[in-house]
């Protein structure tokens, strides 16, 4: 029902919630929402809600990057957030979301990983970014990426004494040097929309997720959806994403 209505409106250049095609829903960002985390952010995108929590743990570096900390992004599609999500290990959609957010952060080099080395070859910080879905009303990916980078910006590095992490005491901010932002462009026939509602997501032909860095460089792409995208439409989609990314980036503090 709602899907059919959304489709007909889009054909006429309109949307259920009266937004423009390139308009995001109202965004609210709260930080420090979980005081056990090294940093956290709660992003509200219209009715969609995601919490990102950052935890640091010491571990071994990868053999090929002995002087660098590591980054792990994980996403939980908690059954709380949608009647369609189920308990159990992450399904392919949760895995994909986590990996796309991960690539956006990783490829933008937003974290100065060398500053997260404790003892070269032996001990580095592992930064866990956990994305927890709270309410799924569409566009979880952009909301998650926004929550992730905001939580990182608000994270601190714990103190270490005699190999033990002193919880609650911090020595510095997490070294965040870029602010990548994710903008997903949805395509339905010849129309392109941003920040789709869940009813709109269900009728999209395809989506293209674009992660854009402060310098307008594109750091990650992911084409989603069951239909193809016309080659000639790609550039337009990049443009929409780059333009909107500037706006979203201003919200990250």
């Amino acid at each position: 029902m709602r899907e059919r209505y959304a489709y007909e409106l889009i054909q006429k250049g309109m949307r259920i919630d009266e937004r423009k095609f390139d308009e995001f829903r109202k965004i609210k960002i709260r930080t420090d929402v979980s005081n056990k985390a090294e940093g956290s952010a709660h992003v509200t995108l219209g009715e969609t809600q995601v919490i990102a929590g950052v935890k640091l743990k010491t571990g071994e570096p990868y053999p090929d990057t002995p002087n660098e900390g590591t980054l792990i992004v994980n996403a939980e599609f908690t059954p709380l957030a949608s009647p369609d999500f189920e308990s159990g290990p992450p399904g392919e959609d949760a895995v994909e979301l986590a990996r796309v957010v991960d690539r956006g952060l990783r490829e933008s080099h937003c974290l100065d990983l060398e500053k997260l080395c404790i003892t070269p070859k032996e001990k580095v910080w592992t930064v866990f970014v956990d994305l927890h879905m709270i309410n799924h009303q569409g566009n979880l990916l952009d909301a998650s990426a926004l929550a992730a980078i905001t939580a990182l910006h608000n994270s601190q590095v714990p103190k270490i004494e005699e190999d033990t992490i002193i919880r609650g005491e911090y020595v510095s901010k997490l070294p965040v040097v870029f602010t990548p932002v994710n903008v997903t462009v949805g395509k339905i026939e010849d129309k392109f929309i941003l920040d789709p509602l869940i009813e709109e997501e269900n009728i999209l032909d395809s989506k293209l997720s674009v992660s854009v860095r402060d310098d307008d460089k594109i750091c990650a792409l992911q084409k989603m959806g069951e239909q193809g995208i016309n080659f000639d439409d790609l550039e337009k989609m990049f443009d929409m994403a780059i333009k909107k990314s500037k706006e979203l980036r201003k919200l990250v503090k």
């Binding site: 979980s34 056990k36 743990k57 866990f128 956990d130 309410n135 799924h136 919880r167």
Partner: protein, 241 residues
């Protein structure tokens, strides 16, 4: 319980966070938030934050699990990986498996399961911040979420913790009190029926101490019940406007 420690949990008759022995932490309750669910609630006991969402009654699948003459309740208690000091690996573990079960049984007595045969009510609890008493905070959130969802219920279930620290009996344990105290009681009841639906204790208590503690918990639950009724009432009044 019972980790040896030099930590003083009570100084000059007051607890480390400044509370009186029988004083609960500030409690906040909010209904709504998860609008995809049929009902949801956020409950905060100090720095412990639990959010719960209720779905259903909805058809239980696969079908061979349906019961012809009654519905079932399913619960999941889950801690966010970032809710604790050392990151918790996602997924269920033995602790969450047990808690999901005792929470289900704590909620069960108030639900008219015979009103929704072949169906299920699913209640999901996420602990976003953990500072002790997570399961009871979660039960309060779950109970409100179910009420908000319109699940057929006789009453609310209210829950709280109590315990023994530095030799004294206290209400509503926080994380440090839970870790370094001498006894910990998890308690839920249906106030209108004087029925206990969750009762877990670990520690070492004489029967007399235990009975005193139970009475403290009962008092706490009465206060919580009033708050819950208030927040529900506000919700309904707002809905009627």
């Amino acid at each position: 319980m019972g980790h040896k420690s030099d930590k003083k949990l009570i100084v000059n008759g007051k607890r480390a966070d400044g509370r009186e022995l029988d004083q609960m932490r500030p409690i906040e309750m909010q209904i709504g938030l998860v609008n995809r669910a049929n009902g949801s609630a956020l409950v905060k006991f100090g720095d412990t934050h639990a959010i719960a969402a209720a779905y259903g009654p909805r058809e239980l699948m696969p079908r061979h699990k349906q019961e012809a003459d009654r519905g079932i309740i399913r619960t999941r208690y889950n801690m966010a990986p970032f809710s604790v000091d050392d990151r918790k690996a996602p997924g269920s573990d033995r602790r969450s498996t047990e808690l999901s079960k005792v929470i289900r049984l704590a909620l069960h007595p108030v639900v008219f399961v015979q009103d929704f045969p072949k169906a299920t009510v699913d209640v999901y609890i996420e602990i976003l911040q953990a500072d002790g008493s997570t399961r009871v905070t979660g039960i309060n959130a779950a109970s409100l979420a179910m009420a908000a969802a319109g699940v057929p219920m006789t009453d609310l279930v209210t829950a709280c913790s109590a315990g023994k620290i530095d030799g004294k009996l206290v209400s509503d344990l926080n994380g440090i009190e839970d870790n370094f105290g001498e006894a910990d009681l998890g308690y839920a009841m249906i106030p209108s029926k004087n029925m206990v639906t969750l009762l877990q204790m670990d520690g070492a208590l004489t029967k007399e101490e235990l009975v005193t503690l139970l009475n403290m918990a009962k008092e706490s639950c009465k206060k919580i019940y009033e708050m819950e009724m208030k927040v529900l009432k506000e919700k309904y009044e707002k809905a009627l406007e």
